[in-house]
């Protein structure tokens, strides 16, 4: 049997690969590169790091210099000697490579090539496109001619045009993903005008179903899912981006814009909400929140995923290799990989999403409709107006203050022991029954627990922290509209790289730090209010480090403005010099749990180990500078008032005025109250707006490095934004960021963007691309079967202004597309994959189309565009089961099915839908008995058959041939012939007989699914009609596009 197999393989090889005869010109790209790339480049290719014997065979000069190639003299070329050698130490590829030997055929090719001069060519895909030839001919006829020439060369001919029933079905699925209705079929078939076909194409291209169909392939590319993936795989709302894609296709957004907006919409001048939304494309990768994960490790993974998706989607190249080393086969260096990495990392993001809150990771776009936007704007303007009036009021109150001061000279010496607005004060002096006293609210105590200890403090005692035990205070859940302040004494035993002094939050990365916190970071105090760290927060950090072993009095305040300039840090009674670290707080700081102030410890964070805290005080207002000084000096604020009208110290005077306003002035108090109320109203409205992950470029690029072996801990040489040099020059004047990257891609000189896109569109129509490896146009990828067709279409695509609908029309108008899909046996055998296009496209429909076809045939399909994902019945059978959606959710088009990565829809997976963990440029297409089980027994399909059965029964008024005809038109888009009517009539009769005897079974069958049953149809008849419809929905012609 082995011999037999071998013979056949040799025979087939001989048929497919033309032997190189002496006279034949060997083509480097066609004949030689595939051999060198597959067998040699791994060690003797572009990767400088792993290059063996310092020999590279991808570069002619180098190969000649090294003696591997002796031009015109194969027998004197080391390359040939080595591939012929049988000495294990000499032969190439070496046995250790486990690549086997070169075939005699391959060796002959190499010899002939060297003999003919060893001419190298640029890899075909990297050669710039030629512009369209100057001709009156349409692109359609150019490609038909090119295909004809190719067929002729192989002794083949094109098939005749398919019949009209076949054509309308083919076109409908290809352009809308749905079957034609019986009415559509009738119209088209009876329209005898020569333009009938073109009119049909135009009509289909304008239907909204077109955008939905086109979106499906793009969702695979974009690895779109409704969950984060990885282990925790929580759900997330990215569907507004999916709807953007559908809209973009339906509006026929030119592909260059489509691409630019998704890569860099945020960088466009005056970017619209939709343009920013488009950049969600870059955030659809999987994300992690498993407890204990390392944040930077995953951030690097995300950026790498963006780079890879970008490369596969737009360049059709595999960049993954270059993450760890120079590409083995294609001219992409590791350094260039990280130059792209530099472009895709430049956003304010975290490597982990929040476990304890549901906020989308930053940067996020707050998605608003016009009405909401208007309301938010109005609320904001109201706040701003009040803030402005505050300034005027302040000016007006200065005089009042001056008067007031004069009247106070008598009483100023009186000491006041408390400050207004104080909510709690914990002297932390003694423990009574495990409790620490609160001198403001005697019943609100703190509990000392674990390794935290009372030790001698600055005054009396203090608490010394273990670093692993929290000291919880029973208050502190402030909203961001509320001014508040905290004051304490602290002492650190050492320089803390990171330590939590106090906070109000559930956790660090596990809650994206939502809340507020005082940390020591790199030895410096850092005071922050946070919605989602790092992209949605305000934060300031002291310039000067915390001195070790000294008591420090610290007061931090917040004014309710959601701005970094509303944060103040006082050290030892004086405002500290600070840097603004973050200044973008647009959402609530409450929620997530941990609703009280905690000292010295945080979940999975570093505590204030062996640090001391004394006299901890909380205020429900923004303390003034004067009060901060007073607290530090341990005097009353009043004692700091100067009544000397001639005081030179303006600063002092201002501080006193601020204090007066804050504590005495009733007008100012009213103003603050109004301001706080209007902020609360604004923030509440803003907090309710849903956010979606997008790109928002940081003003300063993050430093980027080559990562040795791609590992996040192994930073090497610093690199800067750039693109691979071998592909196309970076346009002058273009910015070195994602926008420049997009401009680089859409430059008409770019060799790949149009080719890759056209190829994928072709693939969607013909089942395989002109380049079969749609995901790899590199050295290891397949060569185009019809380079001329690919290049002509690509040049035409660019010159049309990247018009996608026109591109589709150009192709579907061709005779190549319109051929019959069945050819004679020899043609089918010789070219089973239809590489040479001697027949029309034919392949099993996609998972989405099969389900949508069943729903449409049964009249159940709900054609509403967009919105949140839905759960069809099959999700209850998923690995992560979810109940079916209510209402008409189970009848939506399949692209709206909820996509949970760890538990994807099982019936769709059975039909080869990808899991969408990574960018997928090409779907598998397999057939299996599992698919038969889904179609025969799956609830969705049984219900569809039941409803379809009812429809045809009623349409034909129970007349069996009439039912069969109606069913055929709905499911197969054609009429049955006599034999088919006969077979199905027999089926109906048998089943009717059966269900008459099994009426209970019939009743059960008719209860499947939630569509109500039409009681007008007798039970046995309805059940038999259901089985009849099953036969139709399972029919080959229902699930295969021909």
């Amino acid at each position: 049997m082995k011999t037999c197999v071998l013979n056949v393989v040799l025979m087939l090889t001989a048929m497919l690969v033309h032997p190189v005869k002496g006279a034949d010109r060997v083509s480097f790209n066609h004949d030689v590169r595939p051999i060198l790339s597959d067998k040699c480049f791994f060690c003797h290719g572009p990767d400088s790091e792993r290059r063996e014997a310092d020999l590279r065979l991808d570069d002619r000069a180098a190969a000649i210099e090294a003696g591997a190639i002796n031009v015109n003299k194969p027998d004197a070329s080391e390359l040939i000697r080595r591939v012929l050698s049988t000495d294990e130490d000499e032969q190439m590829p070496p046995p250790s490579a486990k690549l086997g030997h070169l075939s005699p055929q391959e060796i002959e090719t190499l010899k002939a090539w060297i003999e003919q001069g060893a001419v190298y060519e640029n890899h075909w895909a990297f050669v710039p496109l030629k512009p369209l030839p100057e001709t009156d001919q349409s692109v359609t006829s150019l490609i038909d001619e090119a295909v004809e020439r190719g067929l002729e060369k192989r002794g083949l001919t094109r098939q005749p045009e398919a019949d009209r029933h076949t054509l309308i079905r083919r076109l409908s699925f290809d352009l809308t993903g749905l079957p034609p209705t019986p009415e559509d079929i009738e119209t088209f078939v009876s329209d005898k005008s020569p333009e009938a076909y073109e009119h049909l194409v135009d009509r289909l291209l304008t239907s909204t179903a077109y955008g939905e169909k086109m979106a499906v392939d793009w969702l695979d590319i974009a690895r779109y899912a409704d969950s984060y993936g990885f282990q925790v795989d929580r759900e997330r709302e990215m569907w507004p981006w999916r709807d953007w894609v559908i809209r973009a296709f339906n509006e026929n957004k030119p592909f260059d814009q489509f691409l630019t907006e998704q890569l860099a919409g945020d960088l466009l001048p005056d970017a619209t909400q939709d343009q920013i939304l488009a950049t969600a494309f870059n955030r659809l990768h999987q994300q992690e929140s498993e407890g204990g994960s390392v944040e930077e490790e995953y951030r690097v993974e995300y950026v790498c995923d963006r780079v890879q998706t970008f490369a596969t989607a737009f360049l059709g190249l595999t960049f993954e290799c270059s993450r760890c080393h120079d590409h083995k086969y294609d001219p992409i260096t590791q350094k260039e990989y990280y130059q792209l990495f530099a472009m895709f990392q430049n956003i304010d993001e975290a490597g982990l999403y929040s476990f304890f809150t549901n906020s989308p990771p930053t940067p996020a776009l707050e998605l608003t409709d016009a009405a909401t936007r208007e309301r938010l704007d109005a609320l904001q303007q109201k706040v701003e107006a009040i803030e402005k009036s505050g300034k005027e009021l302040k000016a007006a109150r200065a005089a009042v203050f001056d008067e007031w001061v004069k009247t106070q000279s008598e009483s100023l010496s009186e000491e006041k022991t408390t400050l207004p607005g104080e909510l709690a004060r914990f002297p932390l002096d003694e423990v009574t029954g495990g409790k620490l006293a609160n001198t403001v609210q005697a019943d609100q105590l703190a509990t000392l627990a674990g390794g935290n200890q009372i030790v001698p403090g600055r005054t009396g005692n203090a608490v010394q922290f273990s670093g692993d035990d929290a000291l919880n205070l029973p208050l502190g859940n402030f909203g961001r509209h509320e001014p508040f302040s905290v004051s304490l004494w602290l002492q650190t035993p050492d320089v803390k790289d990171r330590a939590v002094v106090f906070h109000r939050s559930r956790a660090w990365t596990d809650a994206a730090s939502r809340g507020y916190e005082l940390l020591i970071e790199e030895g410096r105090l850092k005071w922050s209010l946070i919605h989602f760290w790092p992209g949605n927060a305000i934060s300031i950090r002291a310039v000067d480090p915390v001195p070790v072993g000294e008591w420090l009095q610290v007061t931090v305040t917040y004014d309710g403005s959601s701005r970094a300039d509303g944060l103040t840090l006082y050290v030892n009674g004086q405002p500290a010099r600070v840097d603004v670290i973050k200044d973008n707080l647009t959402k609530e700081i409450t929620g997530g749990g941990g609703d009280n102030i905690t000292l010295g410890e945080r979940f999975r964070d570093r505590g204030f180990k062996e640090g001391l805290i004394d006299d901890f005080r909380v205020f429900g207002r923004e303390l003034t500078a004067l009060e901060a000084t007073a607290i530090h000096d341990e005097v009353s604020a009043e004692s700091l008032l100067s009544v000397d009208e001639n005081s030179e110290a303006t600063e002092d005077r201002n501080q006193q005025f601020e204090w007066y306003l804050s504590t005495i002035d009733e007008e100012w108090a009213k103003h603050l109250k109004t301001l706080q109320e209007s902020r609360a109203e604004w923030y509440q409205a803003a907090d309710g707006v849903k956010g979606i992950m997008v790109m928002r470029e940081l003003p300063e690029p993050k430093p980027a490095y080559v990562l040795f072996r791609g590992e996040y801990t192994q930073r090497r040489e610093e690199v800067f934004a750039g693109t691979p040099a071998a592909l196309s020059p970076f346009p002058e004047d273009a910015p070195r960021n994602r926008l420049g990257l997009a401009q680089w891609l859409i430059d008409p000189q770019h060799p790949l963007t149009a080719r890759v896109t056209v190829n994928r569109i072709w693939q969607s129509l013909f089942g395989r691309g002109i380049v079969q490896t749609a995901e790899d146009f590199g050295s290891q990828g397949a060569r185009p079967s019809y380079p001329e067709v690919l290049d002509t279409l690509s040049a035409g695509f660019i010159s049309s202004g990247w018009d996608v609908k026109q591109l589709l029309k150009t192709i579907v108008m061709s005779q190549t597309y319109r051929q019959r899909s069945i050819a004679d046996k020899k043609v089918m055998e010789d070219d089973p994959g239809n590489e040479w296009l001697a027949r029309g496209p034919r392949f099993r429909l996609s998972a989405e189309m099969i389900r949508d076809n069943a729903l449409a045939s049964a009249g159940l399909l709900v054609q509403r565009t967009g919105g949140p994902p839905v759960n069809p019945y099959e999700l209850s059978e998923s690995f992560k089961p979810a109940a079916a959606s209510g209402g008409d959710g189970v009848y939506r088009r399949s692209l709206y099915t909820r996509w949970r990565r760890t538990g994807p829809p099982p019936a769709m997976i059975a039909f080869d839908a990808p899991r969408r963990a990574v960018c997928t440029a090409k779907r598998e297409r397999t057939d299996s008995p599992l698919q038969a089980l889904v179609l025969l027994n799956g609830e969705q399909y049984v219900e569809a058959a039941r409803v379809l059965g009812e429809h045809v029964y009623l349409e034909a008024d129970g007349d069996v041939p009439g039912m069969i005809e109606a069913g055929f038109l709905r499911c197969l888009s054609r009429r049955p012939d006599a034999s088919e009517v006969e077979i199905l009539s027999a089926l109906y009769r048998e089943q009717l007989e059966y269900f008459r005897q099994h009426s209970e079974g019939a009743e059960q069958l008719l209860k499947i699914g939630r569509a109500p049953r039409d009681a007008a149809i007798p039970v046995a008849e309805a059940a038999a009609a259901t089985v009849l419809a099953q036969a139709l929905l399972n029919h080959d012609a229902s699930v295969v596009k021909r």
Binding site: M1, C4, V8, K98, G229, Q231, V232, E288, G291, G292, V294, E301, T318, C321, Y329, D330, S466, T509, R604, K609, Q780, G781, K825, M828, P832, R842, E877, F879, K880, R901, T902, G903, P906, A910, D912, V918, T926, D927, S928, P929, L930, Q931, A932, L933, L936, N937, G938, E980, I983, L987, Y994, G1001, L1005, I1008, Q1030, A1031, N1034, H1035, D1036, R1042
Partner: protein
């Protein structure tokens, strides 16, 4: 039977006269191209006169193995969550002696800890609360929580020197199952299906069963996915309950008779369609509907314990009667192994003992110890153990220091630098102890076995050179062991 045999799948089809090419090739190429996992199901019956031999099954890409295999199939008992080597198989009296002391920096060596305990101020060592004893000739130690496993020590090879790089469950389990930490590559079972094809003609080559209602760290369907390999190689999850395979059962109200009548008429319809549209894909379709029908009886037969003796049932313990338990899945695994399933992957979640080690470990052991040991004994009894490889283990080990505060009810964090597994059966040296960790059970000191090495060894046992089972995707050859892995001779028989 028709003398026209389809030779290609789906989009690429043709018909070839039996006479024109040798029949064996025809059948083989048809078989190799059909089906998602269940590809060759009952195909011999459908298409071949030689069906009685039962030998016509889907062939793998390797055709024949690289060398004589010691094992034909694998039952992998995945203990998901990271079982504590220190409380089960790696006895460390020194750890008990130093109980409560801080982990010395010299032992830790600056290795990264997870974010869960990495920021702890104090990391005190904790000894195991369980008693250990040596069993069997190999001298392996077993904790008192594994009495049944200890009793079959002479059949086992215990490896105490496993190590990985992953510090969390998602990447850890993914690494163990696919050879890489990031989800998306083919799983081990998919590689074997791709390389070796099916052993059985009427069941999938790769079956997955997850203990029901266990909670614990979530698993994902990517763990048994086929990655870039054709989807037919992905694992088929058998579920506990009426429909072990998705939509296996007829709709309510439809019995076998009605279904058979439908299929007969569909076959007529399809044959008619073929006469007007001569596309071999139609013949594939006819075959797949017949296979689906056959599965409707073969799968329930394989999952029905009625024919098992009381003695066998008792061996697995009382849980065996509850579908979806680990015990039931173990017995199911033996039945599937008998019927020629190539790779049977069990998952038992619940080993993630961040807290409550003293109580939680015995609980997990109670669920798994007896059934796992029974499976080995049962395989031995039926003679299957000779060519069935049984693997027991998780994704990493656990720390020798406690997570959080030291307390009687302490927990242990994830630990990648060493952990324990055991293997038994086909090609494994029985009664062996392999590898050693330091006296605190923190690092491997002798005969370390990396995950890639384990994979290389598993493939070796199945007759595969791990460097030569490759798949070209996106321009490069991928393999289960990536560019790493060495066969571990010390554990081979």
């Amino acid at each position: 039977m028709s003398n026209r045999l389809p030779t290609q799948k789906s989009s690429s089809s043709s018909t070839v006269e039996t006479q024109s090419l040798c029949a064996a090739l025809n059948r083989r190429s048809f078989l190799s191209q059909s089906g998602v996992g269940l590809g060759g199901l009952a195909l011999a019956d459908l298409l071949s006169q030689e069906s009685a031999s039962g030998a016509e099954v889907e062939q793998g890409v390797l055709g024949s193995p690289h060398f004589v295999p010691k094992a034909k199939r694998i039952i992998y008992l995945f203990m998901s969550g990271g079982p504590s080597h220190l409380d089960l198989l790696d006895y460390k009296p020194e750890l008990n002696r130093l109980h409560g002391q801080q982990l010395p920096d010299s032992v830790r060596g600056g290795q990264r800890l997870t974010g869960m305990s990495g920021n702890q101020s104090s990391i005190p060592l904790v000894g195991s609360p369980f008693k250990f004893q040596q069993h069997g000739e190999g001298g392996a130690w077993f904790s008192e929580t594994l009495p049944e496993t200890a009793a079959i020590a002479d059949d086992l090879c215990v490896i105490n020197s496993m190590y990985t790089e992953a510090i969390n469950h998602g990447p850890g389990v993914t690494f163990m199952q696919t050879g890489t930490q990031i989800a998306g590559r083919p799983s081990m079972g998919a590689w074997l299906s791709y390389g070796l094809g099916q052993e059985s003609a009427n069941l999938p080559s790769f079956v997955v069963m997850v203990t029901k209602d266990k909670g614990g760290q979530p698993l994902g369907a990517h763990l048994w996915g086929s990655g870039f390999l054709p989807t037919k190689h992905q694992g088929v999850r058998f579920r506990a309950g009426a429909d072990p395979v998705l939509y296996l059962g007829n709709p309510a109200g439809v019995d076998t008779q009605s279904r058979r009548m439908l299929l007969d008429r569909m076959k007529e319809l399809h044959e008619h369609q073929y006469s007007t549209t001569p596309d071999s894909e139609i013949q594939n379709r006819i075959a797949h509907y017949e296979m689906a029908f056959a599965m409707q009886s073969s799968v329930p037969e394989a999952t029905d314990f009625a024919s098992e003796s009381q003695a066998v049932l008792e061996m697995y313990g009382p849980d065996v009667n509850t579908p979806g338990t680990f015990a039931a899945n173990c017995l199911q695994a033996r039945r599937l192994a008998e019927r020629g399933v190539r790779f049977i992957q069990l998952y038992h979640p619940g080993w993630d003992h961040h807290g409550g080690v003293p109580g939680a470990i015995p609980k997990s052991c109670k669920e798994t110890d007896q059934p796992a040991a029974a499976l080995v004994k049962d395989l031995k009894r039926t003679g299957l153990l000779d060519d069935t490889l049984v693997i027991w283990g998780g994704e990493f080990g656990r720390t020798n220091y406690c997570q959080g505060k030291i307390s009687p009810n302490f927990g242990r964090d994830h630990h990648p630098r060493c952990f324990s597994m055991w293997m038994a059966g086909g090609g494994i040296k029985p009664g062996t102890l392999h590898g050693e960790t330091d006296e605190l059970g923190y690092s491997v000191v002798r005969d370390g076995v990396h995950i890639h090495d384990l994979h290389a060894t598993i493939l070796h046992l199945l007759g595969i050179d791990h460097e030569r089972l490759t798949y070209k995707f996106q321009g490069r050859r991928y393999r289960l062991t990536d560019v790493h892995g060495h066969v571990v001779p010390g554990i081979l028989a």
